[in-house]
Symmetry: C2
Subunit: 378 residues, 2 copies
C-alpha cells in the first residue's frame, strides 16, 4: 500500500502496526492526526536511504482489504468521526498511562447490534476468573438487576465473574457487551464461544484489535482500560490481591468513573482485593444491583430504600407502654411495684399496662413476677 | 439515711434512684454536683409539706451499706475523683443523648484486677447475638490479635460476637473487660457465668448499675454508650439491620471514636448492618486484627503491611524478558518472528529470550509455535 489513505484506513493500518494502548501512538495521532502520522511513517528512511522496518511493514498492508473482510464477517470498524463512536473513551487521552498502556483506541471493531454510542450510562461488572460460587452468584444477581433496568452490563467474557455478569444480564433480557483482548471474530476463552456468539447476536462484542488477532497479557491490560472508559461505573465483585480486575478498577479511578466493590468474607482470598479498594476509599461498598444503579445512575433516577428490619411489636406501643416495657427485667421476674419504681410511674397504671403488654405477648409472668418475653428482647 | 453524705455515697444513692444513662440526672450532677443534688432531692416536699416520692426513696437508702456489701464481694465503686476513673467516659457529657440515654455514668462498679484508667487505648469488639460461625470466628481472630498486642478487648459478654471477642482475647492471654447491663455480681446471660467469673479474675467486669440490679432493654442501651465511651475504637463484626450493636456504633460515632466494620457475604443478613455502616462512610472496613490496631493505635505504633499476592516468576524477569513474554499469545502458538514483530524486537534476541523463558516454564512450544504457559497467565 502506498499513497494517501483516509482516516479510517490509516487507523486500521496503524492499529496493525502498533500494540493496542500504546500511549506514544495515541499521542502522535492526537497531535498529527492518523492520516499524517501514517504518511510520515510510510516515508521514513534510514541512514542508507532504505525504508525503515515500520515503513516497510506499513507498505505491505492492505487496510481496505481488512475492512472488506471484516464487513463480510458482520464486523464494523468505528472511528472517532463516526456517529456511533462512544465519545467517553476519549477521556483516555488525558489520563496518565498505567503499566505503559493508555490513550484512546485508534478505532473499535464491533460485532453485534448494540450501538456503542448508547453505552455512556453502562456499568462494568468485573472480577476474578477464579471466582467462588458466592462471587459468581452475586455477580449474576447484580447484573440481572442492572440489565433488567435497561442499563447495559459490560464485561470481559472471561471465566468466573465476567461470565456470570454477562449471563446474569442476558438471563434478565438485559443488554450486555463484551470487550475482548483479541479479535472480535475469535473466541477467548474458547469455552465461551457460545456466549460470545450470543452476545454478537443480541448485544455486542468489541475490541481495538483487528479480526484475527490473538490475546496477549499486554492486550488484556489494554482491554481493561477500555472497559473502564466505556462505562459510567465499574463494579468489582471478587478480586484477589493481584487480580487483573484491579487494573480495570485502577483505570476507573483514573477516569473519574464510579468505582464500586462487593464485599465478601474476610477469610476469602478472592475478596481481599475488593476489601482493599473499599478500605482505601477508592471504591464504595455495594451489596445489591439497586445500590449499583443508585451509584451510577443520574441522581434521583434510581433511588434505593435503605433496608430496615421488620417492624416489631415494640414499634407500635404508646410512649407509656414503652416506658413500662423498658423497666421490665430481662431475666428473673420483678413485681409490679418494683417495675413501677424503676419506671417512675404509678403502681395502678403500671399494673394495667403490664396486663396489656401480656396480652400482646411482650411480657410474661413468672413465679417471681413479670419479665420480658423473648419476642420483646431486642 | 439523712443528712450530709460525701460524693461517693451521694453517687451510690442517686444511682439507685435513677435509671443509668438518664441524661437529666447527668446534667444536674454536672451542674450542682452529686452531693448538692442529693441534698436538694432529699429536702423536696410536695404541696402538703410531705416528702416527695423521690425524697422518701432517698431517705430509705443506705449507700454506705451498699458499698460495704460490694467490698465484701470484691467490687469497688469508682467515681470521677478517683485516680482509677476512666476520664474518657466524661466525653459523654457533651454528646447528644440517643433514645433518651446519655451523659457520663454517676460511678462505675468494677470487679476484677484491670484498672479502668488503663482502658484509654482499648478496643470494643461488638456484634450480633445471633452471629454466624463466620462472624464468631472472625471476632475471635481479631480479638486474639488485638489482645496479643496488649490492647484490651472490651465487649458486652452477650451471646455471639461479644462472647467470641472475649474468648479470643483471653485465648491469646490478652486483657479483656466486659461491660454489663446488670450488676457485676450477676451473670447475664446465665450461660456466661464461667466467662464472667474468669473475666472478674483476669480482666474486669464493669457496670454503672449497683450489684444485684437486673438487666432491662433500656439498661442495654445505656450500657452500649459506655462500651463506646470507654474505648478508643469500636469494631462491629456482624450486625443485622436492627441490631443493638448499631446502637454502640452510633455512640462511637457521636463520641468521635474510630468506628470499624468487618464485611461479610452480602447474602448474609447479620452483615447487612455493617455493610450499611461502611457504605455510608460511618465505619471503615477492616479485615484483620492488624488493621484494627493500625486504625485505633497511635500513628505509627501499629503498621500493617498491605497484603500482596505471592511473588510471581513474572516479577523476577528483566525488562527485555517481560517485553517478549508480553508478546507471546495466550492461546494458539505463534512463530518467533511473529512474536518479534509484536514485541518490536529483533528476531535473534527474541529467539534466545524465548528459550530462557521456556527453561523457566513461562512459555511452551506447540505445533504452531510459542504460547504462554499456564503459570505465566496472570
Amino acid at each position: 500500500m502506498s499513497g494517501a489513505v483516509d482516516d479510517r484506513l490509516a487507523r486500521v493500518a496503524l492499529g496493525r502496526l502498533a500494540e493496542p494502548g500504546d500511549p506514544r501512538v495515541a499521542s502522535l495521532v492526537a497531535e498529527l492526526g492518523a492520516v499524517t502520522l501514517h504518511e510520515r511513517l510510510l516515508a521514513e528512511r534510514d541512514d542508507q536511504g532504505l525504508l525503515t522496518d515500520l515503513a516497510a511493514r506499513l507498505e505491505g498492508m492492505d487496510p481496505a482489504r481488512d475492512l472488506d473482510r471484516a464487513e463480510r464477517l458482520g464486523i464494523r470498524f468505528l472511528i472517532p468521526s463516526d456517529d456511533e463512536w462512544p465519545t467517553q473513551v476519549d477521556d483516555l487521552l488525558s489520563a496518565e498511562p498505567v503499566q505503559q498502556r493508555g490513550g484512546p483506541p485508534l478505532g473499535l471493531w464491533v460485532r453485534g447490534p448494540i450501538r456503542l454510542d448508547q453505552l455512556a450510562g453502562s456499568v462494568a461488572i468485573v472480577g476474578s476468573r477464579s471466582a467462588t460460587t458466592y462471587g459468581a452468584d452475586v455477580a449474576a444477581d447484580l447484573a440481572a438487576v442492572v440489565g433488567r433496568s435497561g442499563v447495559c452490563v459490560v464485561s470481559g467474557a472471561a471465566f468466573g465473574i465476567d461470565q456470570a455478569a454477562h449471563r446474569g444480564a442476558l438471563a434478565a433480557s438485559g443488554p450486555s457487551v463484551a470487550v475482548l483482548a483479541c479479535g472480535v471474530d475469535r473466541a477467548y476463552p474458547p469455552a465461551h464461544k457460545a456466549l460470545l456468539d450470543f452476545l454478537a447476536d443480541e448485544g455486542a462484542v468489541v475490541s481495538e484489535l483487528a479480526p484475527g488477532c490473538s490475546p496477549t497479557r499486554l492486550r488484556f491490560l489494554s482491554r481493561n482500560r477500555l472497559i473502564a472508559a466505556l462505562t459510567r461505573g465499574t463494579v468489582v465483585v471478587e478480586a484477589a490481591v493481584r487480580s487483573g480486575a484491579l487494573n480495570t478498577a485502577n483505570w476507573a479511578g483514573r477516569l473519574n468513573r464510579t468505582l464500586l466493590g462487593v464485599p465478601g468474607p474476610v477469610t476469602s482470598a478472592p475478596s481481599q482485593g475488593v476489601h482493599q479498594l473499599i478500605r482505601s476509599g477508592a471504591a464504595t461498598l455495594v451489596t445489591s444491583g439497586e445500590e449499583v444503579l443508585e451509584m451510577v445512575g443520574v441522581a434521583g433516577e434510581h433511588l434505593v430504600e435503605v433496608p430496615r428490619g421488620p417492624d416489631r411489636a415494640r414499634d407500635r406501643l404508646t410512649l407509656r407502654e414503652q416506658q413500662v416495657l423498658d423497666a421490665v427485667p430481662v431475666t428473673s421476674g420483678a413485681a409490679a411495684d418494683s417495675i413501677a419504681r424503676t419506671a417512675g410511674l404509678g403502681l395502678i397504671e403500671v399494673g394495667s399496662t403490664l396486663t396489656r403488654l401480656h396480652t400482646r405477648g411482650l411480657v410474661e409472668r413468672t413465679a417471681s413476677g413479670w419479665r420480658l418475653a423473648t419476642l420483646a428482647q431486642g
